[in-house]
Amino acid sequence: MTDVLIVGAGPAGIRAAETLAAAGVKPVVVDEAERGGGQIYRRPPDGFSRPGRKLYGSEAGKAADLHRVFDALVAEGRVRHLPRSSVLGLYRGQAQVLGPDGVESLHHDRLILATGASDRLAPVPGWQSAGVYSLGAAQIALKSQGVAIGRRVVLAGTGPLLTLVAAQYRAAGASVEAVLDTAGLSTQLAGGLRMAAARPRVTARGLAMRARLGGTYRAGVRLDGIDAGAEGELELSWRDGRGGAHRTACDAVAMGWHLRSETALADLAGVPFDWSDTWAQWLPRADEMGRAGGGVYLAGDGLSILGADGAEIAGRLAAIACLADLGLSAPDPLRDLRRMRRMRRFADGIARAFPWPARAVRALPDEAVLCRCEGITAGELRAALPGSGQDANRAKSVTRVGMGRCQGRFCQLAGAEIMAGACGVGPERMGRLRAQPPVRPASIEALAEPRGS
């Protein structure tokens, strides 16, 4: 029997597991949550009562279907589900999996990575203050805990999540003081036309949601800084499209610039990476089925940011590729491949409509904190350039930017942009930070005494 390991139980991981199980393969699915669904269709803990329509809006049907499919696969023993578990590292066909009872080493012949994405963050002076969150965090707080991150909330950055979180917070009765989009309207229009051509209904739904935000929403803004007061209150300074200065008082700020693929495990699995100008980030290389070579397959936002619908398709395709490579009979992928191309055109429009704020990051003041884990400033990184040269990994060794608790997840894109800005070149010239195991913190006790040793 071939061992297939799937990492992640979001839309991609669930569809991959379903496709494998239908062909008689029983995969192991490792996921950090208690129950399957991923971040997008994350389920609240037991004892919560809001219906799916409240939690997932127009996508409630898709969420319910994925939850039902995955729960049935687990209940029928057709997949082995390891909940509340993280893969720490990958080495010679073994995955080190940290779960509630310690570390277990799992052998696998084939590996399907469906690790998703997190917010793509750009630093704003003061972003290290208590009460500043990612946009994803603001959504998780509401969706899985029924709380708002503050009494008076400001949402900032750009991307589909900005409008979505604003709409969800207002619908839940939170006070949203301002929704500040760093993308200008003309940029959004250029990308939006591509989005509408690929998926007119989804685009129209987003526009309607945006329209309901009214004057709270401002496009083309610049974020100058966040000041924290002694009592935990915040004030966000920003400029509108004409340069007019504003200060908005609040007690929580959530920000994000669309998404960044979570690629640490793909890196440890030996997958090569390419710089994407469209996404302004390094993305793993795979064929259109998600085949990355060496028995590794990638699916969902961890491969390319196509969103939840694209992730379901990508999960099926990766499993089909895996089955075909094992010489087992697999479903015909043609229809999914065609739908995938449409998802790619739509995602490409999103990337153009809501771009990474390269100029603002390059202009970050020297005294602004870049690495929020260890309080390292943009100026410290710039000052290290004579020693580090144009090399993100050397700059990390010299300055510790990217070496802190988050392992560079939230600062590495900005760090490369700042170095590139100082050198007058593109950020891809700085190279890519290498992932280092363990990719999640683990106690020495858990690592020293693996289960079954």
């Binding site: 009562s49 809001r50 290290q128 009494r151 260890e374 608790r405 997840r409």
Partner: protein
């Protein structure tokens, strides 16, 4: 003062826990992060700056929200459910063992 505001799901039973020596209460199903921030405006002091920290990503990726327990072990507040009788601290419960000269 609290940072978070409860907007829904408030009909759950109460859990009591201790944070920095003070008795607080939360609701069953709260994460430790939700439980503390519904009563306080931050989780811990920053180790590399003068500011305070209150978590950041809430999905186990940034590792900003680790708290101490009185027994010495740490936990990640955003992915750990609060439990009756937990004794939590924003800082280490004891100083590092000093080396004898």
């Amino acid at each position: 003062m609290s940072r978070f505001v409860r907007l829904a799901e408030q009909e759950r039973p109460t859990v009591r826990f201790r944070f920095d020596g003070e008795d607080l209460s939360a609701l069953v199903g709260d994460t430790v992060l939700t439980a503390v921030l519904c009563a306080r405006d931050h989780l811990r002091p920053a180790e590399f700056g003068s500011e305070r920290r209150a978590g950041f990503c809430l999905m186990g990726a940034c590792q900003d929200c680790w708290l101490w327990q009185e027994g010495g072990a740490r936990l990640r507040a955003c992915t750990t459910p609060v439990a009756e009788g937990m004794r939590l601290r924003s800082t280490a419960p004891m100083s590092w063992p000093e080396r004898s000269e």
